[in-house]
Amino acid sequence: MALLQISEPGESTAPHEHRLAVGIDLGTTNSLVATVRSGSAETLPDVNGKHLLSSVVRYITNEPPLVGPDAEAAAAIDPLNTIVSVKRLMGRGIEDVKLLGTRLPYQFEKSESDMPSIRTVAGNKSPVEVSADILSVLHERAKESLGGDLAGAVITVPAYFDEAQRQATKDAARLAGINVFRLLNEPTAAAIAYGLDTGSEGDVIIFDFGGGTFDVSILRLNKGVFEVLATAGDSALGGDDMDAAIANWLMARAGVDEAAAEHTTLRYVMQQARQIKEALTEQDSVSINLNMEGDASWSGSLDRSILNEIILPVVKKTLQPCRQALRDAGIAKADIKQIVMVGGSTRVPLVREKVAEFFKCEPLVDIDPDKVVAIGAAIQADILAGNKSDDEMLLLDVIPLSLGLETMGGLVEKIIPRNTTIPSARAQDFTTYKDGQTAMVIHVLQGERELVDDCRSLARFELRGIPPMVAGSARIQVTFQVDADGLLSVTAKEQTSGVVSHIEVKPSYGLTEHEIETMLLSSFDHAEEDIKLRKLKEQQVEADREILALEAALQEDADLLLNSEELLAINDALNDLKTIRQQDDADAIRSAIDKVESVCEFYVQRRMNKNIEKALSGHKVDEFR
């Protein structure tokens, strides 16, 4: 009989133990957390048995914020302190926020960065903090329900999210204390949930119409590989817009002047509008009784055909991105094998009808459209946690918008065009404009248009110390690197002098590092002690990761790839790290890790090359023609 192994308390987990991992769908209207238990993916309910958490946060003086249904219930009475649809504000500047279609009751304040802060009774809150409060609730729910700390999470974002919005999402997770395995595009998650990765081949449309965002993606499935062929959409179009259209109709009937209406009235009418829309997915007609402040009231009814007329302009707006995605992918409607419906708004009969009519294909609606993304994310999280070691699935993603640099005359030079597979690294040479020029502003932009003013500014930084030369003779190489999450880092290097400037792009509309630190600090009661402990724990986790990985590697191929001298040096560094790991000094552990990494650099490289050779071992050069 095999004996069960029990590790010493506080010791690192064994490499093949089941790691706790979750998928989180951080939605505009609702958020969910899901996990894989005994082989099947399911969403996790709260203590009341509810799976969906309304993405609503209400701030209260001197108390922790309310998140979910309790906050939502207060939206009509306390609109200024109750933040709904915060996802629409993620990674946006104050100017963008003003342009958003829906009317927002909040009072915005400027912050350290260009990101807007919302004034509440509990202080100014950035959209990232509001999202972090939602994530914290889901994080707690998951830890309680699974009975332990999480190894990590996969968090989904709309495929159309730009760099600033992705960065904001990752910052929110960091504030909530969540280790992010990967940001996953929502459509990809939906396809995984439907199991389209197994057995199915061909091109698939993911039509994701949520509360505040619309995305259409075309995925190509081939032997377990998901390739995003194209994505298009509108990050400010959703069910909220249908609600707003219905609300406007209601206010016109009730004789309420929209421009002069109180926030509470607007909120009340929006809630009514949403209920009417939901009721009309099942019923053909619904009766309405509106009672607003200031004696305005209206009674009447609405049937589905009138509703369809009211919301048609919103639904029609989804078709243009569909055409664009087909064009970008270079395929025809007839090539589409399946359509996956995602998001609560796809319950609206008119939406299903128009989609079926447009693609001439009946959409898939078997899985609850609200849960499908979280379920897919959970499946991916389970794989990334290493719980399914033999898994062959591979996700290849593309960037949704082109990345470029400002050149002379306010023009944008594209460095990485949109729909490039990521991770990606591209370099381009630039030169100086004036004689003796010693510095250069690198202005990073995102978008498809030619003029700087029409694109989104992501970051600006300066490369200094260029040796004075005649105009046009310096060679400045700018390298863009985009990681698997779609996040960008930029390096600029003057080739003749070797002057290097490197930045992780912090979008202009994101939080500054200082803001994040301050938020992390203020989120702890016993700040300093806790931060020290947290830092120590982080380093210990990283040390364990390093030790485990290195030992496993050495066992596998030390004899093949290392001579005895090299092996000795690696073992020395490894043993040092093991000793220092047992002491409580975060800085010492960090430097021991750095030491191991520098000693092992060549070894990691050799292993990677071995992997590459192994991957092609079935092929020979002469067989290839």
Binding site: F181, Q324, A385, G386, P423, R545, E597, H619, F624, R625
Partner: protein, 178 residues
């Protein structure tokens, strides 16, 4: 792997303009499975970083070898031919006339938004011109002693057609949306 190392070597395929796309894709996917960051989500930081760099290079290599224009440019580059050389950008008059004609159609389509048919015809024409040059480039590269200057000239023309095609596509998309 060094950044400068040969893309053909990476895929272990012969250095040639004539690439079997299905085979290339198969190799690409196998290599992706070996180096992609998702396979290293529990690995130490350094390995994750390596994996991102490797995958970035792999993606770039695949993109380059997959597309005829980029492939031609790359082959010229590793043979030491500079495409950006200003002296060599003088085009023959026949080619210039052709360019002007094609541009005129695109410009007039821009003015009267509805002329989608003329535009579609032009797109087909550009595609034909593009494809015939790809075939010529393929033949020239297959010769025992390729004439690189001639190939470079054709490749520059390919660049023009590619840009023109992009503009025409963009315009067609705009017209279709209205």
């Amino acid at each position: 792997m060094e950044k400068s190392s040969n893309y053909f070597t990476l895929f272990a395929i012969p250095v040639s303009f004539d690439v079997d796309l299905a085979g290339l894709t198969q190799r690409y996917l196998k290599l992706q499975k070996a180096v992609h960051p998702d396979k290293f989500s529990n690995a130490p930081e350094q390995e994750r970083l390596f994996s991102v760099q490797q995958t970035a290079q792999l993606n770039d290599a695949y993109d380059t070898l997959k597309k005829p224009l980029l492939r031609a440019q790359y082959l010229l580059q590793i043979n030491g031919v500079d495409l950006d050389d200003e002296k060599n950008t003088i085009m023959d008059s026949e080619f210039l006339m052709q360019q002007i004609e094609l541009r005129e159609v695109i410009e007039s389509a821009k003015l009267n938004n509805s002329d989608i048919e003329a535009l579609e015809e032009t797109i087909d024409k550009i595609d034909d011109l593009y494809n015939s040059r790809v075939l010529m480039i393929k033949k020239l590269f297959a010769m025992p002693e390729p004439m690189f200057e001639q190939i470079a000239d054709l490749t520059r023309k390919l660049q023009f057609f590619s840009k023109l095609r992009e503009e025409a596509n963009f315009l067609a998309a705009k017209i279709a949306d209205n």
